[in-house]
Symmetry: C2
Subunit: 356 residues, 2 copies
């Protein structure tokens, strides 16, 4: 597992979302604002300069939106704050990235197109001494072995109906809620945003396919001194593009329990409207079937992302899904994570009872 | 899709299996002997020099086993003929590979460790002018879109209980049998051995996970002018190491029909004896469940690899599986592929009827 802790110290970041400042595309920006807001100096978006992060993205409080790096000379780094399909850097951003590099700022990127493979960026960084950090870059080359897993370490995995429904956020919120109850819990980051937040992890969607489950297993083995691991999910088993990533992760982390995450109101696959989403009951069956190929596993609750609903709508939706699924349901931001924390403790109790 | 046709012309190959000359580890060697035997000059294995390929590997007829390249000055290329777990080149082979390079021979490798990243091999190749060809090397960077698939092109996919059960061989044999009946059929290679045999394809287990289904979809779109595509499977949906590859391939090629391949008598996962194999009925359900997430699909037959059985045992096993599964069953080598060819034609007829 790559540890970036030293590279992530004292970042004083400007987050670049220029022209893509909506909560879905700028998911990386929103999560970093939420969990590392005290390290963020400003957001750079030329179309919204003068606003606050909160006004523009619904998170980040009074952190200002700026239109050029000049205005924040104290900033030490620039973070690419979006996750476009295919992972390429927008052409219009190149002058901004080059400006940051010429100022000696570290540039963090989670894109599939690596900064260190860009001749122009590398030349500029060599000239200024700036550091280029590609969060997705990895050299994973180990297969999974399914040996040495500690069964007393409870593994809980957030799985999803789709991309961008909140699997990372739910895993972080539950880890924090468990830790606040003096449980030794650890968030296992599996994507670039989670890694930026947690300081370690593996960008599994950028691992060579043969070694995906092995890369995940390695993270589990390295952290199973904790009592509970909350493992960030990716994509969906029914996603036409990314189901390989989802299954390799599932079979690499071998969860005892899964939390099914979805966004209320979404009907088609994110970015592929011609493909309808599968229902939550159908996905529950699919996740349990595939997980149980490797060992006992069950969906223990549903995490609802209700950001587009009113309070009343959210309450009705919560009741509907509770009755449809017969499981605990909550929006960890709107309702707090308690109902799912209880589901995790219940699973631990059932497993302890079964082991006696 | 990478086309290697020009690189594969007139190969006059020596296949290197030195010390690993058994049909499972030397799977690449065996398949190339079977389908491209007229391009093979010799096998190099220092422990068996003087034997024939047939005596040593059960395939390849009178092709000699040699102990040094000196004895075959007419050879133009060296093929790494094994597929070790993790894909690293055995240390003891380095002098042989360097000898081939110094003779100006092209070296073909399907290992995960690329020849072109090996400083010593590259220096030697620069000195002699030899070519280094890494069959697994790729730059796939496109996601799947599920747009533009031609439904009249029948997609049949060989899926498996495990690795190394004959999924590639079954796909090639069925493609040949269909072609001999004047059907426009094409074998879609998805692994290094298949690519060496067919001259094109994509080494999907070495693609970055996010782009796996996209790489497969691209091959389908490029070849759907054929009436039938026989798509080579990889791994197994229940494989602890490689299930990601299997699902990304399944969801990239969206098969109308699947042929379930297994090896009679095998009980544990290849190379992971502590993990028991799932039963054929259970796997049939799992493959159909996962394929049907994307569209209608069904298992239409079973391909039995009975290489360790006597004729009597094979006949009993065939009857047992026929009655257990209610499906056509044959060993395409021992019995010929006719029963599965009929199953493919039956599927095509059913689909044509349903479309009327």
């Amino acid at each position: 597992m790559a540890s970036m802790a030293s590279e992530l110290d004292n970042r004083s970041m400007v987050i670049l979302t220029d022209g893509f400042s909506n909560p879905v595309t700028a998911k990386t920006a929103c999560c970093v604002l939420r969990y590392c807001g005290d390290e963020v100096v400003a957001i750079l978006d030329r179309s919204a300069a003068g606003k606050t992060a909160e006004e523009m993205l619904g998170v980040g409080g009074m952190i200002p939106v700026i239109d050029r790096l000049d205005t924040v000379p104290q900033a030490k780094s620039l973070l690419i704050g979006i996750a476009p399909p295919g992972g390429k850097i927008p052409q219009a951003w190149r002058p901004i990235v080059l400006d940051a590099i010429s100022r000696g700022m570290t540039v963090y990127s989670g894109l599939h197109d690596f900064l260190v493979n860009d001749v122009e960026f590398v030349a500029a960084a060599n000239a200024s001494g700036a550091k280029l950090v590609d969060v997705r870059r990895n050299q994973e080359r180990d297969v999974a072995n399914r040996v040495g897993l500690r069964d007393e370490c409870l593994r809980v995995h957030t799985v999803g109906q789709d991309c961008g429904v909140g699997k990372m956020l739910v895993a972080v919120e539950l880890t924090r809620a468990l830790s606040s109850r003096d449980v030794s819990a650890k968030f296992i980051a599996t994507g670039q945003t989670g890694i930026l937040v947690e300081g370690d992890g593996c960008p599994i969607d950028c691992v060579v396919a043969d070694f995906l489950s092995g890369a995940v297993e390695k993270m589990i083995l390295a952290n199973q001194d904790h009592d509970i691991l909350m493992i960030e999910g990716q994509g969906s088993l029914a996603h036409p593009r990314y189901s390989a990533v989802t299954l390799g992760l599932l079979h690499g982390c071998l969860p005892h329990g899964m939390i099914l995450c979805y966004e209320a109101g979404r009907e088609g696959v994110n970015g592929m409207d011609h493909v309808p989403l599968k229902s939550l009951p159908e996905l529950r069956t699919v996740y349990e079937t595939m997980a149980q190929l490797m060992g006992p596993s069950e969906v223990i609750g549903v995490a609802m992302n209700s950001r587009c609903l009113t309070d009343d709508q959210a309450e009705r939706e919560r009741q509907r899904v509770r009755s449809e699924m017969g499981l605990p349901v909550c929006d960890v931001i709107r309702h707090g994570p308690e109902e799912l924390v209880k589901a995790v403790f219940d699973l631990r109790r059932r497993r302890a009872g079964a082991a006696v």
